[in-house]
Amino acid sequence: MGEADLSRVIARVEDLPTLPRTVLRITELVNDPKASAKDLAIIITEDQVLTARLLKLVNSSFYGFPQPVATVTAAIVLVGFDAIRNLLLTSSVLDFFPVRRGKVRREQESLWDHSLGCAIGAKAIGAFLRQEKLEELFVAGLLHDIGKIVEMMFLPAEFGRVMEKVRENGLLISAAEEEVLGVTHAEIGRQLAERWKLPPKLAEVIAWHHRPAAAGPFAQEAAIVHLADILTRSLDLGFGGDRKIPPLDQGAWELLRLKPAAFNAIMSDMLTEFDDIRSFLG
């Protein structure tokens, strides 16, 4: 569709608020090799909500430490910088979207379940491939569909028309978005990631999770998220917005060098972990 529509959508994304300053500072700090656990603890303890959340998480059965963890510094040392950033990024992004009632809320929740499934899937595939940065893959999976949340929240009328087309014509959501908005959730997500000054790798993976080969140096990560998306849909974890499974990108499959025999192990891990995390979030 026309240029006017595209620029209008992007203008709306420009109006979005930025991430809380604390989270931006934490993201910067985690990327700084000279930063210590103490530096990070100082920033976190300035924010009571983050502090409470962090201590709740490290004391949950998810981590299973034998002794209660009482201080933020101890939590950071035990869990690690990357996991802390993930936790804080995730919960802040969740907070950022106001809770609506009724149908929108249900749609949002099932999209978050889809995102959580994809995060777990990306991590499980990464573990299978012996990748180094599993936490990074988790965040990429979690945020890959953030553009859909933006549409839901800030372009509700257009998003309604997109969903209508998906239902009536059996389109994939990206195809319906192209028709209605002239731009897909992947591009909107990239705009948001850039605005939030998230790491460029994350922005590129969000932008290309349907066409991983275009992600250049981050094609491997994009391919992992692309496959995780498909596995999540086939396991019915949450709802990604359309009923059909999108095709597996041939280039992505070749890049991953997985054998089909791996699917059972990966999906078994995904379901176990999804049920675990869901039980402690709920």
Binding site: Y63, D236, K244, I245
Partner: protein, 114 residues
């Protein structure tokens, strides 16, 4: 979850339970991916065995083969209907059906006990 002797543990496996020394000092928390260095540290602290996660750790840690009797149902087939010309997608569909059935059996087992 699998308990493995230290000499069976390979780098890349995921620790399922935190590892402590005899003095109850934490060596490595659950959820971490094991590296050569970790294994070396465990050895020097006299750790004999650790628990690792069962599946995605790679070879040697595959879950037991599921029964063949979990074919994809009609709803799953419908979701895959546009992509089944790809044999990889066919494999994904079959694995998804199997793992969903295994999960349903697990959940049923849990409810049965409580």
């Amino acid at each position: 979850m699998l308990v493995l002797n230290l000499d069976e543990v390979k780098p890349g496996m995921i620790l399922a339970k935190s590892v402590f020394t005899h003095q109850e000092r934490l060596l490595l928390e659950a959820g971490r991916r094991l590296t050569e260095r970790h294994l070396h540290i465990f050895k020097s602290w006299g750790v004999a065995a650790v628990e690792v996660k069962g599946a995605a750790a790679g070879e040697g840690a595959m879950p037991a083969a599921a029964p063949e009797s979990d074919p994809p149902d009609a709803a799953l087939r419908e979701k895959f209907s546009d992509v089944l010309s790809d044999p990889v997608m066919q494999a994904i569909m079959e694995a998804a059906a199997r793992q969903r059935a295994a999960r349903a059996r697990r959940q049923k087992g849990r409810h049965g006990r409580s």
